[in-house]
């Protein structure tokens, strides 16, 4: 506990370095490309187009009806896809944060968690921009989200805490076991389909008791995944304009706290030997 507090103090004291590391990530990411920053919007745009064509137009997934009678698959998708992209970005970024900076860790002394936090924070900046674009799109399509911006921002922070905890955990795991990255890649793929991003959650929650899903107890297992609740909360607020239930909010807060606590303790437990393990 004492170690945690002193680590927190150290982290806070080096916030300026954190800022510089974030700037490094942001500036370095698209340096040398001719489109530069546009890439941070083009990538989600491309996946939006693909999912809209495949699931909206070809497979004809029916999106739920949102606020003010809004029923638009693309917007329905984006309300969940953007948080998902942020989550998977943090998990992947966290995994690479230590390995990618091996030289820095071996040759200089500074609080190592800053590298993971910088990866998280720089992605959060992109996340903010994407969400701002989405808000404009929602406004254009008649579902005025202005009242919901602040709660959404809070939810984004809770998601960031949740994802960063995992990122911290995986960053050290990947140093000690290099194939963590490959397991996580598979895990993320499974998780993507196990989260109602491209389809409405009603497809899972409203199954009849004798269906295959219910008989295999997939539906009860399904809701163990905290991301289901995160994504639904985003959709509740931005697409349907109502607050998520108190139970959901509790689940979100508890999973963020548990993830952060576990990530932080695991990271501090194993970060001492990073310089020699890298």
């Amino acid at each position: 506990m004492e170690g945690t507090i002193s680590q927190l103090r150290v982290t806070f004291a080096s916030r300026e370095l954190l800022g510089n590391l974030v700037l490094r990530e942001l500036r370095g990411k698209y340096k040398g490309t001719s489109l530069g920053w546009l890439w941070s919007l083009l990538n989600p745009l491309a996946s939006t187009v693909i999912f809209t064509v495949v699931f909206g137009a070809i497979l004809r997934v029916t999106p739920t009806v949102g606020a003010d009678g809004l029923q638009n698959y693309t917007l329905f998708l984006l309300c969940a896809l953007l948080p998902w992209n942020y989550f998977s970005g943090v998990v992947n970024g966290g995994m690479g944060a230590l390995l990618g900076n091996a030289n820095l860790i071996k040759k200089t002394s500074f609080p190592r968690q800053l590298l993971v936090l910088a990866a998280t924070a720089s992605l959060f900046v992109t996340f903010l921009i994407e969400m701002a674009v989405l808000a404009v799109a929602l406004l254009v399509f008649g579902a005025n989200p202005l009242l919901w911006l602040l709660p959404t921002l809070l939810l984004m922070v809770v998601l960031a805490v949740f994802a960063t905890g995992l990122g911290l955990m995986l960053s050290v795991a990947n140093v000690y076991f290099r194939d963590s990255a490959h397991f996580v890649a598979i895990g993320l793929q499974v998780l993507f389909y196990a989260t109602p991003v491209i389809y409405p959650i009603t497809l899972v929650s409203d199954v009849s008791p004798d269906s295959l899903v219910a008989r295999l107890h997939i539906d009860s297992l399904y809701f163990v995944n905290p991301l289901v609740h995160f994504v639904e909360a985003f959709r509740d607020m931005l697409y349907e304009h109502h607050l998520p239930g108190l139970g959901t909010v509790l689940v979100l807060l508890v999973s963020a706290a548990v993830s952060m606590w576990a990530g932080w303790s695991i990271f501090n437990r194993f970060s001492g030997r990073l310089a020699e393990e890298l």
């Binding site: 300026e16 510089n20 590391l21 340096k31 040398g32 030289n103 071996k106 002394s109 290099r178 194939d179």
Partner: protein, 420 residues
């Protein structure tokens, strides 16, 4: 500030040597744990107390643990046992420009690197011009560092690190960067550091520099502290000991080692060469000692007036000297049977190091080689008197300093003298 700047108490550091660098989960499942490894103690129970305001050196051969020690002191490695304590702000120069982002400009990297080394933005703002000026990169500061030459890169790295304004500076073998003038600037900066009463901890193999820069050195050997003391004494002791190690190694190596180049028609053959000091055959001699270089010969049939010669080379191939009997106007007469020839050297004026002897015998015209044996003998010169250690030879001179027009009211001119 306390009198001790850096303190290490009972520091031990263990490394894991993996048999196979295969950190896979599969391997972990198969064996029930992670890859097998051997333990290796890079440091064992080392105590150091580095006084503040002094320049302190760590010496030792490769693998002696000195860099590990420095990393423990700098907080990069965490010791397995014992503790380290640092009183004051540390800047460690283990690698210059570590953490530079190649795509970012020099300017951005100065800010980034500075903050990694613990400077605040305001501090960097204040010192930015000085940093750029010191590195001599005014015109390139907005160019991405990936376009820098390696010299520019390390110069900028050094310049940032040295301007961090640390109370304690830790340096690992990074003094030899840049060109002559940049090195001079670095040395001046170090001198300023010392004058300002900051603590400097250096790890280096450049023993000459260590000797002249350090106030105190610690000698690490296989992870253990072998001694702490004044640099002149300890560096000499270290040089002596490392040569002894090498003699033991080379004694075995020479027996099986590859034959060096040998050619000649064989009328007179060189059967061996050795160093004789005090009537005993040896391979190590201190500077300034009397020694004889002995060449053994053998002639199956009488040979008239052969010419013997030897050559001395340093290990990196510098030809130090090459005396022969003809230049010395020694008449060798007719040789038949076996015997030896001595070159008696009253004072061996070679500086400490390892040298190689080549011996040859020619016909009287010195055109035709009877026998030419390259590198027939390797020997070591140990520190002796004179204590010169730069270059290859010592002139054995004596210094004589005079002050011809004394300032003030008088007395005789000060005369400083150091004999050799």
């Amino acid at each position: 500030m306390s009198d001790v700047a850096v303190e290490a108490v009972g520091v031990s550091k263990r490394f894991r040597l993996y048999h196979e660098r295969n950190q896979s989960l599969k391997a972990a499942f198969m064996r029930g744990r992670r890859a097998k490894y051997d333990e290796f103690w890079a440091l064992q129970d080392v105590d150091l107390s580095i006084p503040s305001g002094k320049t302190y050196g760590l010496i030792g051969h490769n693998g002696s643990g000195k860099s590990t020690m420095l990393k423990c002191l700098a907080g990069i490695l965490v010791p397995d046992r014992g503790r380290t304590q640092v009183h004051g702000k540390v800047s460690a120069l283990l690698e210059l420009g570590a953490g530079f982002h190649p795509e970012l400009s020099g300017r951005d990297n100065v800010y980034l690197n500075g903050s990694i080394l613990g400077m605040s933005r305001k501090q960097i703002d204040r010192q930015f011009d000085e940093i750029v000026d010191f590195a001599g990169l005014e015109t390139f500061i907005d160019t991405p560092v990936k376009n820098y030459s390696s010299g520019m890169y390390v110069r900028l790295g050094f310049s940032v690190a040295i301007n961090v304004d640390p109370e304690i500076l830790m340096v690992d073998e990074v003094l030899a960067v840049g060109d002559e003038s940049f090195q001079r600037k670095c040395m001046e900066k170090f001198a300023d550091f010392r004058a300002e009463g900051r603590t400097v901890v250096i790890v280096s193999h450049a023993l000459g520099t260590m000797r002249s820069m350090c106030d105190e050195v610690a000698w690490l050997d296989h992870g253990k502290l072998k001694g702490v003391g004044r640099p002149e004494e300890l560096v000499d002791e270290y040089v002596g000991a490392s040569h002894e190690d090498r003699v033991e190694e080379s004694a075995t190596a020479e027996e099986e080692g590859p034959r060096h180049n040998r050619w000649g028609s064989g009328e007179v053959r060189i059967t061996g060469a050795e160093l004789v000091s005090d009537g005993r055959v040896t391979t190590k001699v201190p500077t300034g000692d009397e020694v004889a270089i002995r060449v053994h010969w053998e002639a199956a049939a009488p040979v008239v007036e052969p010419v013997f010669g030897i050559a001395l080379h340093t290990l990196d191939g510098v030809h130090v000297t090459g005396p022969n009997t003809r230049d010395a106007e020694l008449r060798t007469g007719t040789l038949h049977g076996t015997g030896w020839l001595d070159l008696r050297v009253p004072r061996l004026m070679l500086t400490p190091g390892t040298y190689e002897l080549t011996a040859a015998v020619f016909d009287r015209s010195v055109v035709h080689a009877f026998d030419h044996r390259e590198k027939i003998l390797r020997f070591h010169v140990l520190p002796g008197t004179p204590r010169d250690h730069f270059g290859v030879i010592s002139l054995g001179g004596a210094w004589d300093l005079r002050n011809e027009s004394p300032a003030g009211d008088g007395g005789a001119g000060a005369v400083g003298r150091t004999g050799s």
